[in-house]
């Protein structure tokens, strides 16, 4: 039986999340003190050495990201991405519900490394109670003076999936339509109001206090060496235990689904799992012994690798074509419209998927999906457009017979 290992959930259900006293009693804010005893460069090197990689979707080395912020910048910003809009994902909400001060401490540690005095938490509009919860925690931290001169403000999103993309998120903080920016320049050089900005997912930030207090070597030794640490996974769909688990990154999909998840509901057989959210790839039974780490998942055809850590299980009765059609609808709806490959590509993919799903598709339609998908992957402006073909193309790749079965019978 695999064991859970709690980094993001280290205080979950052990302390009262509304009490900063409880958090401090559990050792909270001592890592921030330790971080502030180091030079910013030393701190960044330690985190780089820990190989802490982004937990939101792109898997980028956090310490390396800090290195892009010019050392002589006068004003810099730290932004927490709490816009989790990836269907099947609810990990960041749980982490913040259970332990908001770990996030504030993580942000303050990051702020020290990049010499920032202002942080923003961009919280999705669907979580208004989380906004209140965070504002309460910030007020307590300010009253205690634990954050020093680092200020944190919560900003609320308003239901746009694309705002999970960091440059679109920055546009939204600035009060604009959430359209991704052309890159470069990257946020590290030119972010919020043109200033150097570091954007991290919640789960990345909450790991920082543990990395600082226990050391880079401790963290780097946990789980898969190329993507060390733990990952919070949220199980959904046809799995017995639809809940969140935090595990080292070297566990396999099979362990996640059948040990933690308790297997498939209703005694039915497994058909597929989509890992990383709705932009992740659909994976068949034959690959279930793959470890969940970012790069292994990416090799299976999921553009965003492990992505957000959502694990969506489908049983033998599910219609892959129908599910993939619903996924195509999601991206058609959420494309922001700025770049042509994504705007037109998601529209056409949904159109073709509907056609196949109702039994009017042909072999040529499958070829069209492949070629549209290739263009989107290479030419879309941001990760949303680049990732969105993965679920459809992996569904075709691994479940081709279900598509063939639905194609129009040629006379």
């Amino acid at each position: 039986m695999i064991e859970q290992l709690h980094i993001a959930f280290r205080n979950a259900d052990k302390i009262d999340p509304k009490s900063i006293g409880d958090y401090i009693g559990a050792g909270g804010y001592t890592a921030l003190e330790k971080a502030r005893s180091l030079a910013p460069k030393e701190l960044a090197d330690e985190v780089k050495k820990a190989n802490l990689r982004g937990r939101g979707g792109a898997g980028f080395n956090a310490g390396l990201k800090w290195g892009f912020v010019p050392a002589d910048a006068e004003t810099t910003y730290v932004v927490c991405n709490l816009d989790e809009g990836e269907p099947g994902t609810y990990k960041d909400r749980l982490v913040v519900e259970k332990d908001p001060h770990s996030l504030l401490e993580g942000m303050a540690i990051c702020a020290w490394a990049v010499r920032s005095r202002q942080g923003y938490i961009y919280c999705r509009g669907e979580y208004p109670y989380i906004v209140d919860h965070l504002n309460g925690a910030i007020a307590q931290a300010e009253a205690r003076g634990v954050l020093g001169d680092f200020k944190v403000e919560v900003r609320m999103g308003a239901g746009a999936y694309v705002c999970g993309e960091e440059s679109a998120l920055i546009e939204s903080i600035e009060g604009h339509r959430g359209l991704p920016r052309y890159k470069p320049p990257f946020p590290g050089a030119n972010g919020v109001w043109g200033r150097p900005t570091v954007v991290h997912n919640v789960e990345t930030l909450v790991a920082l206090p543990e990395v600082v207090s226990k050391g880079a070597d401790w963290y780097a030794a946990i789980g898969a060496s190329n993507y060390p640490g733990t990952k919070v996974l949220t199980l959904t769909g046809d799995v017995v235990n639809r809940q969140a688990f935090e595990v080292p990154t070297d566990v396999t999909l099979r362990q996640v689904i059948f040990e933690l998840g308790g297997g498939v509901r209703g005694g039915r057989k497994f058909k597929a799992v989509q890992v990383g959210g709705t932009s992740g790839g659909f994976i068949p039974e034959s690959y279930l012994d793959t470890p969940i780490d970012f790069d292994s998942m990416r090799l299976l055809g999921s553009f965003l690798g492990l992505g957000t850590g959502a694990v969506f299980v489908l049983d033998e009765t599910r219609d892959m074509v129908d599910v993939a059609t619903r996924v195509a609808k999601f991206f058609e709806h959420e494309s922001c419209g700025k770049c042509t490959p994504c705007r037109e590509g998601t529209y056409r993919m949904y159109e073709i998927m509907k056609k196949i799903n109702r039994g009017d598709g042909t072999d040529e339609d499958l070829d069209r999906l492949e070629s549209i998908g290739k263009v989107m992957l290479r030419a879309s402006l941001c990760g949303s457009g680049q990732a969105s073909p993965s679920p459809i193309l992996t569904a075709i790749r691994y479940f081709r017979s279900e598509f063939d079965h639905k194609l129009k019978a040629l006379v």
């Binding site: 269907p87 900003r155 999103g157 239901g159 009060g175 959904t236 989509q274 709705t278 922001c336």
Partner: protein, 148 residues
Amino acid sequence: MPNYAEVLECFRDKPGGIIEAFHALQKEHNYIPREAIGEAARAFAMSEPQAYGVATFYSYLSVEPRGVYIIRACESAPCHVAGADKVIEALEAHLGIKVGETTADGRFTLELTQCVGQCQGTAVITINSTPYLDVTPEQIPVILSGLE
């Protein structure tokens, strides 16, 4: 005449605060009235079309009048396989309206939404942002009568 300026006053010093201001206006009126968009544009030194463009970009904000209770049914894949379509049909049948419409008495508006981050309990609907989990078509009359 509603005093939109009063609400806007709390946000005008916040750089980029127009989205926060729209949330506050919507909380009060259930949507963002056209005149409020004009006032917001002036408060944040934007053109009116720019402010309107911000309001219409975000699916959580509405520029059309809506009912007292805004019911949003999630149609993302995890809710889809948990029977979201049947839940939506039950909502339409019970309310006598289609998705996107408001009941004649102005009480209920029915909208679709993508994932609201409560996938431990699919299918999910939200009513004025409060999530209802593991919803089945049979529960719809009970849930709605609880709001009367």
